[in-house]
């Protein structure tokens, strides 16, 4: 019974909240997050200005590094994890990501096609006269 009461208290966690940890463990979590984020940031800035890697790969690398760093922030600073006590938070995050990808991906896709299919401005202007 006491076991069940214990589970009942822990079945849900607020976003930003951790499971019960000591202060030392919590500080350690933030330190790990900070170090990882600084490493990823330094890599991003290094890759953006270097000649050492194949140039066309740089934009892809930057985007991958950015997504990785956002993941680090979510896990170590916002404490959004995949545990069962975080189901609500993860579902909300998943829906938010869906909308973000629809908006950004859809816009870039459609506008790139419009740009490619539209004649240049100096060709349009004579048509209007």
């Amino acid at each position: 019974m006491s076991d069940q009461a214990h589970m009942r208290a822990e079945h849900d966690l607020a976003p930003g909240e951790e499971e019960q940890h000591s202060v030392g463990t919590r500080i350690l979590g933030y330190v790990v997050g900070l170090v990882l984020a600084l490493l990823l940031t330094a890599t991003s800035f290094f890759i953006a200005g270097t000649d050492l890697v194949w140039q066309p790969s740089i934009p892809v690398a930057l985007i991958v590094l950015a997504i990785a760093q956002m993941g680090v922030h979510l896990v170590f600073f916002l404490h959004i994890t995949t545990g069962p006590d975080n189901t609500n938070n993860v579902l909300a995050l998943a829906f938010g990501l869906l909308v973000v990808f629809l908006v950004v991906g859809g816009t870039v896709w459609i506008m790139a096609h419009l740009n490619a299919n539209m004649p240049a401005m100096d060709q349009i202007m004579p048509m209007r006269r």
């Binding site: 069940q4 589970m7 009942r8 079945h11 849900d12 966690l13 607020a14 976003p15 930003g16 909240e17 202060v23 919590r26 500080i27 933030y30 330190v31 997050g33 900070l34 984020a37 600084l38 940031t41 991003s44 800035f45 953006a48 200005g49 740089i58 934009p59 930057l62 985007i63 590094l65 950015a66 760093q69 956002m70 922030h73 979510l74 600073f77 916002l78 069962p84 189901t87 609500n88 938070n89 909300a92 995050l93 829906f95 938010g96 909308v99 973000v100 908006v103 950004v104 816009t107 870039v108 506008m111």
Partner: protein
């Protein structure tokens, strides 16, 4: 008897997440508040994604004006990034201090967070003022309009965050670590960390991708 007990368990755990929850009742206010704020943060991120989409479409429309690679200074952006990252860390320290009700570390963490946020804002403001003084204001080209809206919108969020931060320090000073003050502190920490996530997108997409092309 054992069958009804099993049926009861299966019903109480419909998603097989391994936890049996029998009539847990409404969630504590702390969880409900933070969850609602999390929904707000996600909608804020959706709004930022619209600015990102606009920037991605308009980044090449310079109308004869400067390109991104001609006006961005990587050194400033690196300092801004480190400031925000460290402020996220000190904000985390302040929220731990609030949870253990340690006033000294709370004030210290919040003060350092505020200082780092102000350094970030000063650098950003000087960058904007410098661009406008050189005639590269938001009305110069579609690219600059998108740039100023996206980066300026993040800057506005940081300014609002600093106002909120000072409010939290005043509330802890005046009211102590009451339950409602702690809930607000939790929402503020979420807000500040979410701003850092948006900044990761800004410096990667705007400054680093923009200066390479």
């Amino acid at each position: 008897m054992s069958m009804t007990a099993t049926a009861g368990r299966a019903h109480a755990d419909p998603h097989h997440i391994g936890l049996v929850i029998e009539h847990p009742g409404p969630a504590p206010k702390r969880i409900v508040t933070a969850y609602g704020f999390w929904i707000f943060l996600l909608s804020d991120i959706v709004m930022f994604s619209c600015f990102f989409a606009a920037y991605a479409v308009l980044a090449d429309q310079t109308a004869g004006g400067p390109k991104g690679s001609e006006i961005f200074e990587q050194r400033n952006v690196a300092i801004e990034t480190v400031c925000l990252l460290l402020s996220s860390f000190t904000c985390g320290m302040a929220s731990i201090a609030a949870d253990v009700r340690n006033r000294f570390w709370f004030y210290l963490g919040m003060a350092v967070t505020c200082l780092l946020g102000l350094i970030f804002l000063v650098i950003e403001f000087r960058e904007f003022a410098d661009l406008v003084a050189r005639g590269y204001g938001p009305s110069r080209s579609a690219f600059l309009t998108a740039f100023f809206s996206l980066v300026g919108c993040h800057g506005l969020h940081v300014s609002a965050g600093i106002l909120w931060l000072l409010t939290m320090m005043a509330q802890v000073f005046a009211k102590g670590f009451r339950a409602d003050v702690l809930r607000r502190m939790m929402c503020f920490a979420l807000f500040w960390h979410a701003l850092d996530i948006v900044w990761v997108g800004v410096f990667s997409v705007v400054y680093l991708l923009g200066s390479g092309v």
